[in-house]
């Protein structure tokens, strides 16, 4: 079994971080994982994305030409990845920031007001966790427990205080999908 996902948004939105969390959690479960960042001539304030693969077998290519899923944080990333998603793919997007609806009828679409939900939790910086939670509410490449484990690897020292609220943000994403 192989799960893959493209995560895309502005630099600074925690796009790369949630990809790393996924990969780290997969590694802790003994799975094969790859994390590949976009590393072209990037621009400050421009878009950033990463591709994550979690699989039981060795991973051939970390490059995703037809990703199974995409988590998108902004309009540019939506425009870029909506057309390339595999048939029947999963698209999770932040409907607080993205005003357009998908024109593809084959996709499993999650319009989640992730920024609004994050603000209710106290800070728009948790948007990435809300979106990741929504993704994990739909598919299970790794268990939530493993992801919690990865959080405590990334959030250490003073940041350890943020683990609980990040967990709540993840759960808010899961809950939104389950209510839908």
């Amino acid at each position: 079994m192989e799960y893959n996902v493209v995560i895309a948004g502005f630099g600074g939105q925690g796009v790369m971080l949630i990809g790393e969390l996924l990969a780290h959690a997969g590694m802790d479960e003994g799975k094969e994982v790859t994390w590949l960042p976009s590393y072209g001539p990037e621009q400050r304030g421009g878009t950033a994305n990463c591709a994550v693969v979690v699989a039981d077998e060795p991973i051939a290519s970390p490059i995703l030409t037809e990703p199974q899923a995409a988590i998108v944080f902004n309009r540019q990333s939506f425009d870029k990845f909506e057309p390339v998603l595999a048939k029947g793919g999963l698209l999770v997007l932040d409907s607080t920031l993205i005003d357009r609806k998908s024109s593809r009828v084959d996709l499993d679409l999650v319009y989640i007001p992730a920024t609004d939900i994050a603000m209710e939790l106290g800070n728009s910086k948790f948007t990435n966790m809300v979106l990741l939670g929504a993704y994990l509410g739909k598919v299970n490449p790794i268990s939530m427990a493993s992801l919690h484990g990865a959080l405590s690897v990334f959030l250490t020292g003073k940041k350890a205080a943020l683990i609980e609220v990040n967990k709540r943000a993840l759960q808010a994403g899961v809950d939104f999908v389950n209510k839908e």
Binding site: M27, D28, V33, E57, I59, A60, P62, I63
Partner: protein, 355 residues
């Protein structure tokens, strides 16, 4: 949980070199391997090593040359255009019979090209680049873990044969993260300064002199013959290949590095369709594992060489197999990486459905 850590290729390879006993690194930044010198600049001082960011690639390789003459484990890394600038130094180091390790994260070319994954520096790495009759051992890992493991071998081989050992990867291996485990740690205090090192006379009756200049033709020929004898020994004993799903194979893909890991999935897809396809993956591209490939003459109905370049690896396959079987080829250039299905399509186009 194991001892695995999630690391970017360019950083894991730097740590791998340190674990292999590398204590000196000289380099100049270039994408897609900037994380290697950055990591070295942070880590080498912690382990008592030295990092210098040189003013250019030409300076870097000559600093490597100097450290190599002192008999220490030294490396540099760069990407295609930077490696081109180092060719003179690589020839001098080879001509001087001293060891070092060089990592090339190959990118799209020719010229400045781009920073996407490519294998178009195969000829440069394997056949030459600098002037004169010299060879270097060229290792081609297809995962971050293998790269880290091969770095230990790279420094051992460099010291054993007093040769340049080059590790060729690409932006994909350098930029992605994969779980990696550092299995071997060389204790540098056990590494002896070689007899030939230019580190002072220490009571010896003669001074060690290292040079690549020999004006006398007969003398230089003798020197060349010594080098050639060494290269012949390396060719006899050091070639390596991975043979994947080859026991009952009718056909084989021949590919290395990034291309080989993708081709492995092609093999799995083909096998699920009932096609007896295997993979021959050179781990050393020099010495080229010709003998291991030739062992399949009479057993295979054909091979498909696949590379991120235009008929470079293919040339060595052709030298090894001549007209002993049908030889197909497929490649993409400029930094485009084909997927497993695309490779299978090329196979079916050239060999039918393979049954």
């Amino acid at each position: 949980m194991s001892d695995k850590v999630l690391m970017k290729g360019a950083e894991a390879l730097a740590e791998g070199a340190i674990q292999a006993g590398c204590r000196y690194y000289f380099g100049y930044p270039i994408t897609p391997q900037n994380e290697t010198p950055e990591y070295m600049s942070r880590r080498l001082p912690e382990v008592g090593g030295r990092f210098v960011q040189a003013e250019s690639e030409v300076a870097s390789i000559n600093m490597v040359y100097g450290a190599a003459c002192a008999g220490v484990r030294v490396m540099t890394s760069s990407s295609s255009p930077g490696i081109s600038l180092m060719q003179e130094g690589i020839s001098y180091i080879s001509g001087s019979n001293v060891p070092c390790v060089i990592m090339n994260a190959m990118r799209g070319g020719p010229g400045l090209g781009n920073i996407a994954p490519a294998q178009a520096d195969y000829f440069q790495a394997v056949k030459g680049g600098g002037n004169g009759d010299y060879r270097r051992i060229v290792l081609a890992p297809s995962s971050i873990q293998e790269g880290v493991d091969l770095l230990v071998d790279a420094f051992e081989l460099a010291d054993k044969y007093r040769m340049v050992v080059m590790i060729i990867v690409d932006g994909l291996i350098a930029q992605m993260m994969e779980p990696v485990e550092f299995k071997t740690r060389i204790d540098v205090s056990t590494l002896k300064t070689p007899e030939w090192a230019t580190v002072g006379r220490h009571g010896r009756d003669h001074a060690n002199v290292i040079t690549s200049l020999t004006l006398d033709a007969a003398g230089l020929e003798q020197w060349n013959l010594k080098l050639q004898a060494k290269y012949a020994q390396v060719e006899r004993t050091e070639s390596r290949i991975e043979e994947y799903q080859m026991d009952d194979a009718d056909y084989a893909i021949i590919a290395y590095g990034t291309m080989a890991r993708i081709a492995k999935t092609t093999v799995r897809i083909a096998r699920a369709k009932g096609v007896k396809l295997g993979l021959l993956r050179p781990i050393t591209v020099w010495p080229f594992p010709a003998k291991q490939i030739q062992a399949y003459v009479g057993k295979l109905k054909g091979t498909l060489t696949v590379e991120l370049a235009y008929r470079q690896l293919f040339e060595d396959v052709r030298l090894a197999l001549c007209d002993k079987m049908p030889l197909g080829w497929y490649g993409r250039g400029g930094g485009v990486v084909p997927g497993p299905q695309e490779i299978l399509g090329a196979f079916e186009e050239q060999f039918g459905k393979g049954r």
